[in-house]
Symmetry: C2
DNA sequence: ATACTGCACTGATCTAAAGCAGTCCTTGGG
DNA sequence: CCCAAGGACTGCTTTAGATCAGTGCAGTAT
């Protein structure tokens, strides 16, 4: 899909208003003005849902380039919260900006919604995986998943990548206790498959890990939108 | 969002070509012509994903009125399969029809994608629940969820509803073994909360069940699209 | 130099749910 | 009428992972 001039202009305008946020404090609280989304420029964010029982399920991680909170301004079901994992930089997008842009360029609207739908599909993929695999496979798969996503934006290789997540983040994302995550990581390390330490993930045996996780390397081939 | 005449016409044209399918045999195999979606007119369908280990995760159930396979023709990631649970009637929608409709009426495209995104959000909701709750709460919640959806299309009340699902379906949807589903159903029955038997779900104590499941009755308030 | 805090890490115990193995009951076909 | 097949149902055993209750260690504040 190639953009018309007008679409390009509209799209560009969305990238104004950069702001920084500090790690740990939820985005909504910081960016109080209720109805905004963000485009993440630098840093990591996680989107999560609190369960009635107090535990939280991390639904997805956002890395630089990802859209963030799109759904919450489109369907005002303020379903998730967002926590910056490190200090981040993000471009703020007001609801009015977006709706405005959509009204003017419906093709753009379709494209954005398409992208949103695709992301959602990946989340489903992830959650399905979480439900069925056992802890070790889950962790292995997760590390590979992240690796693939990061590689797309040039933030990692087959050897490893920088990763600011704590074991608690892993636990909340994978539906495990942090204790168990720790044990599983040790096991992966002892088996010489992967090392998760000091903010860095190292693939000691990428092949072996892929095999263990039954990871499909075609995982996120970016087939562009059909809405040409 | 009110439709223009053209949009109405285009939308109408999608409802041609009704077909029937028999229970148990996958839709894709029956409707071989690879790129079609369906609008379900009568009957129940489940969409599922096979896991590498052979088990399957039922991701969602479709009831009359639901769109079906939308994603597979929009993002050609043929991610799910569809199995009719009973004999069904569905309107076939070819990929070309839809893309055609979208090109002609972008606002319609946005609306449809919006709906798709909303459905997806509900799936996420469901899967998150599956990951965290224990078996009893999971089953209770599921029965209520279904009830709410069915009530919207006039197929059930607070007293109960007709439900063609087997205990195996429940198991695959909730990520439990059928054995365990059976036990949990017995427990719910013995506690006088709900009865799942002979193709019928009866809420013996709706209040109590809602309490047990921590079910949010505002669950699926249909907030319309903002894309007016 | 000392306390406090957050993260990584460990061992021991407990439990929800899986897996196994089988019965009963209904339905439909030969 | 008998047999086969699928769904519902049960008891027993096993296991993955949670929970509890810590230790060790770095970084920062006092």
């Amino acid at each position: 899909m190639t953009l018309t001039d007008e679409e390009a202009v509209v799209l560009d305008r969305l990238h104004q208003r950069r702001r920084r946020f500090v790690a740990g404090r939820d985005l909504v609280y910081q960016g109080q003005a209720e109805q905004s989304a963000y485009i993440l420029c630098a840093g990591w964010v996680c989107s999560y849902k609190l369960q009635p029982d107090g535990s939280r399920q991390i639904v997805d991680f956002q890395i630089p380039g990802d859209f963030l909170g799109l759904r919450s301004i489109l369907l005002r079901t303020s379903d998730h919260s967002f926590e910056p994992i490190v200090d981040i930089m993000a471009a703020e997008v007001h609801q009015s900006d977006l709706l405005d842009a959509f009204a003017r360029t419906p093709r753009l609207a379709a494209a954005v919604l398409w992208a949103a739908s695709r992301d959602e599909a990946m989340v489903v993929e992830h959650l399905v995986g979480v439900g069925r695999r056992d802890a070790e496979v889950r962790v292995a798969h997760f590390l590979l998943e992240l690796s693939a996503r990061l590689a797309l934006v040039g933030l990692g290789t087959k050897a490893g990548y920088a990763c600011p997540l704590s074991q608690y983040h892993l636990a909340d994302a994978l539906g495990l206790s942090s204790v168990h995550v720790n044990r599983v990581l040790r096991k992966l390390r002892e088996q010489g498959l992967a090392t998760f330490q000091n903010g860095y993930v190292t693939f000691d045996d990428h092949e072996g890990l892929v095999a263990l996780a039954e990871f499909d390397p075609a995982y996120l081939d970016q087939t562009g939108p059909l809405l040409a």
